[in-house]
């Protein structure tokens, strides 16, 4: 029994792995389906006499539907799952068990971070594969290389989001406070992105898959990826440093 296995069991026995995989798989399956039949759906629920006319859906629309849902509800699930693993000081008695048996907080944070991040990336990959398959069946083929680069960008963004959650767990106590602080930080970043339009902010990576499969230029993505990787490492280092100084 190791801390790595502990984190794996946390995902499996609490059904959190099912929740995270299920969320992304659901959006992967329903995204392209929605894009394909959006005009009929709108027509079915529209006012009588009003006719909704949409342009014919493209394969990129299928991926756009998937990333749109995944970057909101999927991200929420990822942060909640990660917070439940990383906020290990939430209950003092449980924290005492771990903290009196390891040399430093890094020994606890790193397995929790890596297992949570791996689950999130696996879920994104599963969802992307489902969206890719369904898009191919319903809407047509996708540029494979660009899709895979977009997947890598999305995975890096999720790794960043989990690192932000780790830092939030070190600063606050409790799962709800951790998830709230992490989501607030990510929302603030998205707002900054919307206001400034800076192309190299980490939030751009979340929508990179759609940008790339539409054939748009990937301006700022390499710089954004480099910055996100650096911020991820920085957030983790800060989480360990802050956690090591916390008293129980």
């Amino acid at each position: 029994m190791t801390l790595w296995r502990l984190e794996w069991l946390r995902l499996v026995r609490t059904r959190r792995l099912v929740a995270i995989l299920g969320a992304y798989l659901f959006f992967g399956l329903t995204g392209p389906l929605t894009a394909r039949y959006l005009d009929r759906i709108l027509g079915g629920i529209g006012t009588e006499g009003v006719r909704v006319q949409l342009p014919a859906p493209t394969p990129a629309d299928g991926i756009a539907q998937f990333t749109g849902n995944a970057s909101q509800i999927g991200l929420l699930v990822v942060v909640l799952v990660a917070a439940s693993a990383l906020a290990f000081d939430a209950r003092r008695e449980m924290a005492v068990f771990l903290r009196t048996r390891v040399r430093g907080a890094a020994a606890v944070i790193l397995p929790a971070y890596l297992v949570s991040a791996a689950a999130a990336v696996s879920a994104l990959t599963l969802g992307t594969l489902a969206a890719w398959y369904e898009t191919a069946v319903l809407l047509g083929g996708l540029p494979v290389a660009r899709l895979l680069v977009g997947l890598a960008c999305g995975a890096l963004f999720l790794a960043f989001a989990v690192a932000v959650t780790a830092l939030a767990a070190a600063i606050t106590r409790g799962v709800a406070a951790t998830a709230g602080a992490a989501l607030a930080a990510l929302l603030a970043l998205a707002v900054a992105d919307g206001l400034t339009g800076v192309p190299w902010l980490p939030t751009r990576l979340a929508g990179a898959m759609e940008t790339l499969v539409r054939g748009e230029p990937a301006t700022g993505l390499p710089a954004g990826a480099a910055l996100t990787a650096a911020l991820t490492a920085g957030a983790l280092a800060a989480a360990v440093a802050v956690s090591d100084r916390r008293e129980l």
Binding site: T2, L6, L9, R91, R92, E93, T100, R101, E247, L248
Partner: protein, 293 residues
């Protein structure tokens, strides 16, 4: 000494939780840290375990950190782990070199072998406490810090935990905090009395008890008892008489031997109707109340 502190202070804002504590725990002792709620017991144990940083003073804990184990007052574990997995994790984290068979041994000592493969979310308070002890001793620590290990248990659970602690004598040094004085008197050989962050007494339990409490008899009589109390107060071998209620008197005497000779006659001479008459030996509770009042 396995643990020594000098002038140890711990401050939380304006509140001084520990005020110049000079703790000295002999190697091999079962040391009872007693004090009312809020005395600073949990803070002191947390400082010794390295979970809190002292505001001032010195702390010297002889064993390396991996050889010191702390059991909180209400141990909790991930409810989806089994008891066996908790003990296995504790062993693996602290002493991976200790044989796996040790896990079975401590589970058996804690009488948890039958429940070892059940998830701890279904354990009772007593089982969790025993599991906590099993997870604490599995790595064979030199120093065990037990925070109120039996305070929240029913009598049967308390008995089981006290027996487990008594079984640690000779195997490790134990520092246990408690406000249940009878527990401390039963299992500890050394005590420290803490009040409002200050150590009022520290030393062998025997030294604390002998010569402190006045010998006394506890009398249960048919009412009224007032005239009996007045009659006894007039005797030169009686130090004092406390009327506890309408049937009970506590008679403090110069010596139990004198009382054995003279008390029956004194009671008979004032027509007291005696239901029971018991010598009251000095116990930790008397001394504790004397020191902390």
């Amino acid at each position: 000494m396995i643990v020594e502190t000098r002038g140890l202070e711990k401050r939380y804002g304006p509140h001084l939780a520990l005020a110049g504590v000079d703790l000295a725990v002999p190697r091999g002792a079962v040391y009872g840290l007693v004090g009312p709620n809020g005395a600073g017991k949990t803070t002191l144990l947390a400082v010794l375990a390295g979970l809190r940083v002292p505001s001032a003073g010195e702390v010297r804990v002889a064993p390396p950190r991996g050889r010191v184990a702390l059991l909180p007052d209400t141990p909790q574990f991930e409810p989806w782990l089994t008891g066996r997995e908790v003990v296995a994790l504790a062993r693996r984290l602290v002493a991976p070199g200790v044989p796996v068979a040790r896990e079975e041994r401590v589970l058996a000592d804690a009488e948890l072998s039958g429940a070892a493969d059940r998830r701890v979310g279904g354990y009772s308070r007593g089982m969790l406490q025993r599991l906590g002890l099993a997870a604490t001793v599995v790595a064979e620590p030199e120093l065990l810090l037990l925070d109120e290990p039996a305070s929240a248990l029913d009598p049967a659970g308390r008995r089981e935990v006290l027996d487990l602690i008594a079984g640690l004598r000779g195997k490790a040094t134990v520092v246990l905090s408690s406000h249940i004085l009878s527990d401390v008197q039963e299992v500890c050989d050394t005590v420290g009395i803490l009040r409002e962050g200050r150590l009022l007494f520290q030393g062998p339990l025997h030294d604390l008890l002998v010569g402190r409490a006045v010998p006394a008899y506890l009398l249960r009589l048919r009412p009224p008892v007032g005239h009996v109390a007045d009659a006894l107060r007039a005797k030169d071998w009686v130090v004092g008489v406390d009327v506890l209620d309408e049937q009970r008197l506590r008679v403090s005497v110069r010596s139990l031997a004198a009382a054995e000779w003279l008390l029956p006659e004194a009671l008979a001479s004032c027509d007291a109707r005696v239901v029971s008459m018991n010598p009251q030996a000095a116990d930790l509770e008397d001394v504790f109340l004397e020191l902390t009042s």
